[in-house]
Amino acid sequence: MIFDSEIWQITILSLQVSALATIISLLIGLPLGSWLALGNFRGRSFMLSIINTGMALPPVVVGLVVAITLWRSGPLGDLNLIYTPIAIIIAQTIISAPVVTGLTAAALEAIDPRLQQQLLGLGASRGQMIWLLWREARLPLLAALMAGFGSVISEVGASMMVGGNIKGQTRVLTTAIVLETGKGEFNQALALSALLLVITYLINLALTSIQQRGARR
């Protein structure tokens, strides 16, 4: 199996699914985290505590809830999404979005709150102010991106439960590792694990070099 067409297909699907889940998490987490960090409204602390709890959501619990929701007899069963890559993306987004949201909120809360007033006092619109605060917090925000991606590329429980580990359709690197281990094919499982580690390392290396270039400037 090693380095045949199937493994490339599994690898590409893993990257596609996790990258899409991370991008959707960013689209949710950046604005939501900014709103939580910069807003001044009732229930803000409660919402932050929910998000922080969400950062430690067990993937199997997420998998279970998504599976029940997308199951043929479930509330969204008519969409026929169970055991599809979209189901994995949904589950991974639910895992990753709180991580990105929570770390975005923490990154923005660490900035001197007077900077908001200073930017507004120089005539910034709300949008211009938030953009510049993101720019100031770009290093921890990149860390949020890395943590979000890391939480899903390495996740197995939810992908297995909602994807079904179907060969050629929903099999990703982590579920393939579980399958090979179950079959006693430890060499294949080890090879897939090494591949997963190398991919994760290369992506984080790229992001870290961007982050450190920013830090050294």
Binding site: L115, Q118, L120, L122, G123, A124, S125, L132
Partner: protein, 241 residues
């Protein structure tokens, strides 16, 4: 001189606590007003209210005869600029920091660059244009902060104890430079301090704020000669000592 700012029955609260209450006050166009008072007296709240960064609990502030609540918030804030106690520079070069407000206002690149260079020169920091904010000394950073405010050529400049975190020689030099700049510029400026020397040097009129109330307004000579009451007299004496 006509009134640029009029204050009517202004009450500012933090939670349930009243931190500032001013019945009636006017600031004239082109005036240099210094606000003095002890720590926690409501001076900074006064500036934040004037900048429309804090909303009054009651009463109103009128700018050019129109209540701030009727001004488009962004349009109003683009007529003023604010200098805080700390420079609060962004992690970018000096010229990018100075040009921030111009960028917010969509000023064309060539014009923005010319104005940035003019004000960097005016504040004696043109050699620092390409340096990153993190590499500046406290005095240099505060000069950048002043250039960033003045480059906007605002109708009103609000300065909240901009020199209080600087060492005495740097402070004296910057005070001289700002004083000369304001004398030449004829811009309306409100300067908050609890330093009598700064108040004397910078303000044509001085307002004493104590415990959230405007206790006395006049030239420093008038206030010293005839303090409104015992607490103002004691406060001035403490400052002089």
């Amino acid at each position: 001189m006509s009134a640029l700012i009029q204050i009517r029955d202004l009450v500012m609260r933090r939670g349930k606590r009243t931190v500032l209450a001013i019945d009636s006050f006017e600031i004239l166009r082109g005036e240099r007003l210094t606000v003095i008072g002890p720590n926690g007296s409501g001076k900074s709240t006064f500036l934040l209210a004037l900048a429309h960064l804090l909303n009054p609990a009651s009463g109103e502030i009128l700018f050019e005869g129109k209540s701030l609540t009727h001004w488009d918030e962004l349009k109003y804030r683009r007529k003023i600029s604010f200098v805080f106690q700390d420079p609060l520079l962004l992690d970018m070069t000096v010229e990018q920091n100075v040009g921030l407000g111009l960028k917010f206002r969509g000023v064309e690149k060539d014009e923005a660059q010319a104005r940035i260079m003019k004000w960097l020169k005016q504040l004696g920091i043109e050699s620092l244009a390409k340096r990153r904010a993190g590499q500046l000394s406290g005095g240099e950073a505060q000069r950048v902060s002043l250039a960033r405010a003045f480059v906007l050529e605002p109708e009103l400049v609000l300065l909240d104890e901009p020199f209080s975190s600087l060492d005495p020689p740097t402070r004296a030099k910057l005070l001289d430079d700002l004083s000369a700049l304001l004398a030449e510029d004829h811009r309306t400026a409100i300067f908050v301090t609890h330093n009598l020397k700064e108040a004397t040097q910078l303000g044509s009129r001085v307002a004493v704020v104590m415990e959230g109330k405007l206790r006395q307004v006049g030239t420093i000579r008038q206030i010293k000669a005839k303090p409104a009451d015992e607490t103002v007299a004691v406060f001035l004496k403490e400052l002089t000592n």
